[in-house]
Amino acid sequence: MKSKRAKPPAKRKPNGAQGAPLTELHGIGKTFDSGVIALRDISFSIRRGEFLSLLGASGCGKTSLLRIVAGLLAPDTGDIAWQEGNRPRETGFVFQEPALMPWASIGANIRLPLQLLGIDGRTAELRTRDALSQVGLEKFADSRPHELSGGMRMRASLARALIVKPKLLLMDEPFAALDEISRFKLNDELLALWQKLGCTIVFVTHSVFEAAYLSTRTLVMSSRPGTIVEEVRFLPATERFDPQYRTSASFAARARKLSQALERAQ
C-alpha cells in the first residue's frame, strides 16, 4: 500500500481484454523473512469486468499475491497502481476459510465492513438485507456461524465481501474446503452474481476445473519462486450459462488447455 504509482493507469485496450486496467502490477517480488522467495517479477493488469483466475499448486505464492493486490502486504520490489478509489472501500475479499466472527450473528458479520467504514443506520440495514438475499441467507440473519453448514458460512463470507459493493472482488480459494456438490452450486451462483453486479473478480484456485469453469482469463503460476508462466484467455462465452456446460466438449477442452499449461509450469 506504500508503493502507489503516481502515473495514471494507461487507457490502452489490449487484445481480447474486457476493459481498461483496474489495477496494474509491475515487477512484483516478495521474499519472506525465512528467505523463501515467494514471488518473483510478476507483472499483469486486472481489467475491468473480467473474471481472472490465478491458477497454481499450493505454496506458489497465490495468496501472497492476492494480499498484495488488496494492499494488505507490501511487496519488496515492483509497484502496484490502483485505479483511484477502488481501495479500500470498493474492494471485497473472500478468504480461504469463512473467517466469520463466532460471537456475532450472521447479520452482524456481514455488516462488519460497513461498521468499520463508519456506515450505519438505515443504509447499513438495507445493504445488509440486500447482501443476505444475494446469497440466499435472508432467513439466517440472526443465526450464529456455528449453526450454519460450511457452504452457508462461505455464502455469508461472500455476502460480507459484497456489502461494500466492490468494484474488485478478491477470492482466495474460497470453495476449496467444500464438498463438490456445494462447490458446483456456489460456482454457478458466483457466475450469476458476477454477471449481475458487473464487478471484476480475481479468483485464486488450485483447481484446473474451477479455473476453466469460471474465468475469462487465467494466469498459470509456477512454484518457488512464484512466477506467472502462462496466460490462457477464454472468450467470454454465453454457453457458460448453459446447464450442460460442465459436461460439454468446450469445457473439457479448456480444462485440458489449463492442465497442460500447469504441467509446463512445474
Binding site: 478468504f95 460471537w103 456475532a104 465492513p113 456461524p145
Partner: protein, 257 residues
C-alpha cells in the same frame, strides 16, 4: 448431564463424612485429636458470629484483590498487544513475580506496607498472572484472516481492539479469571498467616492460628471448612459467569448436534 452425574460428587462427599463420623465415634477419638464432622458443625453454629465475620473479611480481601488483578492484568495485556517492545520488556518481570513463592514475598510486603494492604497485595500478586498471561494470549489469537479484513477496511487499533481483540480474548480471559479467583483466596490466606497477629487479626486464616494457639481444634476445622466452601463458591460463581458469557457461541459451551 444426567441426574446421577450431578449427584455423584455430593454422594461421594456424604460417604466420606459419614465414614469420618463413624471412625471418630468408633475409636472414641478426642476432639483435640480429630473432631467429628457433627462437632465441627456445632462449633460452626456456636461461633457463627465470629467465624462468619472473619469470612466476610477474607472474602472482601479476595474480591478486592481479584478486582485489582483483573484491572492491572487486562490493562497490561492491552499494552502488550499494542507494543511488542513493552511485552518483551515487562513479561519476564511478570514471570519473575509469578515464580517467586508468595509466602517468601509476604514478610517483605509486611515491612513496606500496612498489614491490611500487604495482605491485599499478596492476594492480588498471585491472582494477577493467570489473568495477564491468558488475556495477552487471547489478544494475540485474533484470526489472521479477520485481521486482514479489519486492515482492508482501514479499522484503526481502537476498532480492532474493540470489535476483534476483545471478543476473541473473552474466553481466554474468563478461563484466567476462574483460576485467579481461587488463587486470590489462597493469596489472601497466605497473607493473613504471614501477617499473623500483626494484621488486623480478623480474617479466617487468623482464626485458624488463634484457635491453634488455644488448642481449639474444632474451631480450626470450622474455619477451614469455611475457607473451602468460599473457594468452591468462588469457583462455581466464575464458572457460571463463563458459561453465561460464552454459551451462545463458544466451542466450550456448544453441544454437538
Amino acid at each position: 448431564m444426567k441426574k446421577r452425574d450431578l449427584l455423584a460428587p455430593f454422594i461421594a462427599i456424604a460417604i466420606l463424612i459419614t465414614a469420618w463420623e463413624t471412625a471418630v465415634r468408633y475409636f472414641a477419638l478426642a476432639p483435640q485429636v480429630l473432631p467429628a464432622p457433627s462437632l465441627i458443625l456445632q462449633t460452626l453454629i456456636a461461633d457463627a458470629r465470629l467465624l462468619f465475620g472473619s469470612l466476610l473479611v477474607t472474602l472482601r480481601i479476595t474480591f478486592a484483590a481479584l478486582f485489582i488483578a483483573t484491572a492491572t492484568g487486562v490493562l497490561l495485556a492491552i499494552l502488550f498487544s499494542a507494543s511488542r517492545f513493552a511485552e518483551r520488556a515487562l513479561f519476564p518481570i511478570a514471570v519473575i513475580l509469578q515464580v517467586t513463592p508468595i509466602i517468601a514475598i509476604a514478610p517483605l510486603l509486611l515491612i513496606y506496607l500496612e498489614p491490611a494492604n500487604a495482605v491485599l497485595a499478596c492476594a492480588a500478586l498471585v491472582a494477577f498472572f493467570p489473568i495477564l498471561s491468558n488475556t495477552a494470549l487471547g489478544f494475540a489469537s485474533a484470526d489472521r484472516q479477520l485481521r486482514d479484513l479489519f486492515s482492508l477496511y482501514d479499522a484503526g487499533p481502537l476498532k480492532t481492539l474493540l470489535y476483534l481483540r476483545f471478543p476473541t480474548a473473552l474466553p481466554y480471559f474468563l478461563g484466567g479469571l476462574r483460576i485467579a479467583g481461587g488463587l486470590a483466596l489462597i493469596g489472601a490466606i497466605v497473607g493473613e498467616i504471614a501477617a499473623g497477629s500483626a494484621g488486623a487479626g480478623s480474617g479466617l486464616a487468623w482464626r485458624i492460628i488463634e484457635a491453634g494457639h488455644r488448642v481449639n481444634i474444632p474451631r480450626m476445622y470450622a474455619a477451614l471448612v469455611l475457607i473451602v466452601l468460599a473457594g468452591v463458591v468462588i469457583f462455581a460463581l466464575l464458572s457460571w459467569l463463563q458459561h453465561i458469557a460464552l454459551r451462545r457461541w463458544h466451542a466450550s459451551a456448544i453441544t454437538a448436534e
